[in-house]
Symmetry: C2
Subunit: 159 residues, 2 copies
DNA sequence: GCACATTGCTTGACATCCTCAACCATTGAG
DNA sequence: CTCAATGGTTGAGGATGTCAAGCAATGTGC
């Protein structure tokens, strides 16, 4: 993969100037990037016998979350989350816990097995995105800042 | 949406320097960006009574493509594309055409209505991604270059 | 030119995902 | 205390997704 093209220190020092990128071009490029990202993610999840959606759901459980919160993060109907969590619970990757403060609420938490699975998916995902490691610190920092500005509502992740 | 926060000319003039971004942070940010992008796309497609997958499929038909090519671009089984194309054909958004050179092959092309629908989805999508328009030409060009390097296989789209 | 392998697409079976409506238990508002 | 709203689930129905199998067509090798 790694050619002998010299690593750029900063992109603004790139010699032959590219024609300026239009919003439409970036929109289309982001479509391809999103597709490529999910392809890698789906492959990592499939490696553990999980679907893309199951992998996504597990990855969102950085801390216990309610069914409603998961539905919001997954942008789907709450009833859909019931089924997804059923299947993950059946695999002993998550568990439903009652909320002490509100008996309507169920909180979903990873099991130990679920945590191991998430770590494993992330490791596979990272090894499939080697080009991110090949960027310089400067470039990654610039990329993060630009993506933050292009997608302001994704800038601060819920812990 | 548009606050009175002054627009930065270039990110490298950003005063307080950010801590460097790690590959893992970028990986996670790309997950959020991909999710946000698809959320916008799904909303644009739903505005025309289409699912995300139907919208994606139509968007890939910048020129007629075989069922096999679509399956590859959508990263799914060929039999799944049969069903997706059935539903789009039923809406008169695409048509199946035999390939003159190989009678096994069916080429899928947009109808006039399909082309109008794609233009409409793209316009909605663009208007949902206003932050891309608010970046300077310099920033968009930098972002494109960095995404090209982060995802080398998405750099040159099939026409 | 023929036999066999491979390919492209479809069908069928089955699982997962997704929305919508309706329901019940629970909490919030007035 | 009554009514509204919320959280989660169930059920119905449609879309997506994989896998195996089948058929028509093309490719390969002799």
């Amino acid at each position: 993969m790694s050619s002998n093209v010299p690593m750029l220190d900063t992109v603004h020092q790139n010699p032959p100037p590219d024609p300026p990128a239009t919003p439409i071009e970036l929109m289309d490029q982001l479509a391809r990037v999103a597709a490529a990202y999910y392809r890698h993610f789906a492959a990592a999840a499939a490696g553990r016998g999980l679907t893309l959606m199951q992998g996504k759901t597990l990855s969102l459980l950085t801390r216990p979350r309610s069914m409603r919160a998961l539905a919001g993060l997954l942008s789907c109907d709450a009833s859909n989350v019931t089924g997804i969590v059923d299947r993950l619970e059946g695999r002993d990757l998550v568990r439903r816990e009652p909320d002490p403060a509100d008996r309507r609420v169920k909180n979903i938490a990873l099991t130990d097995e679920g945590e191991r699975t998430v770590r494993s998916i992330r490791a596979d995902l990272m090894s499939g995105l080697t080009a991110l490691e090949q960027l310089s610190d400067q470039d990654r920092t610039t990329l993060r800042a630009l993506l933050d500005r292009a997608f302001p509502d994704t800038a601060v992740p819920p812990a």
